[in-house]
Amino acid sequence: MTRIYEELFIVKPDAPDEEVDQYVEQLRGQLTSLGATVDKVDKWGKRKLAYKVDKYREGTYVLFQFTAGAEIVKELERRLRVSDLVLKFLTVRIDQTLKRLEKRKKARDKRAARRAVNAPAAAAPGAPAGPAAPAEASVGMPGMPKES
């Protein structure tokens, strides 16, 4: 059972850039050798942390997106935990979210398309809005003389 996951982790800020790059490459290699497919690697760069973590006030954020099974995630988390470079990490399963978003987007596009089709049609034969307004007016007109 393969799923899509997102792994966001914080690397110590005092680690040199090359070391971080090397570590990221190493992780990517390990993931692929375990049988996962790495879809995306994104380095956010240095950011201030919202609170102190191990006496650090800032950290380098790295984001992985990969497709793998549960055992691989377990192994990856173990490695992150063992590593001296990593301060904190968060694994999020995102395949369900992605699916839901896609569905929402599709529904939205469909609705937009229908509206685009309807709008010119309504303008030409005067479909929904056209007859409604005159009908109301004709109802109102006979009422007026009765009252007066």
Binding site: A50, V53, L63, V92, R108
Partner: protein, 99 residues
Amino acid sequence: MAEFKGKPGSAGQRPTGGDKAVATQKKQYFRRKKVCRFCVEKIDDINYKDVKTLHSFVAERGKIVPRRISGVCAPHQRRLTDAIKKARNIALLPFAAQL
């Protein structure tokens, strides 16, 4: 967020800016109708990485702003709290901010 303009004397033509007016005999409240920002702006994805958006739903002290104040609808508030809690875990948002 709710604005109370309740001087009895000045009940007349005051530009309220709100679209819903609840008027009682003595006092007059003009309350702006709150709408869910995620519904209005059609934001489907409330992501924990999107700190900018999340930040506007976190109070000064780092607490999650309740629905009755922010006006977010229930389904979106559920996703929002989820996102905020995830963001807290990875130090994007504070658990408790110092003043």
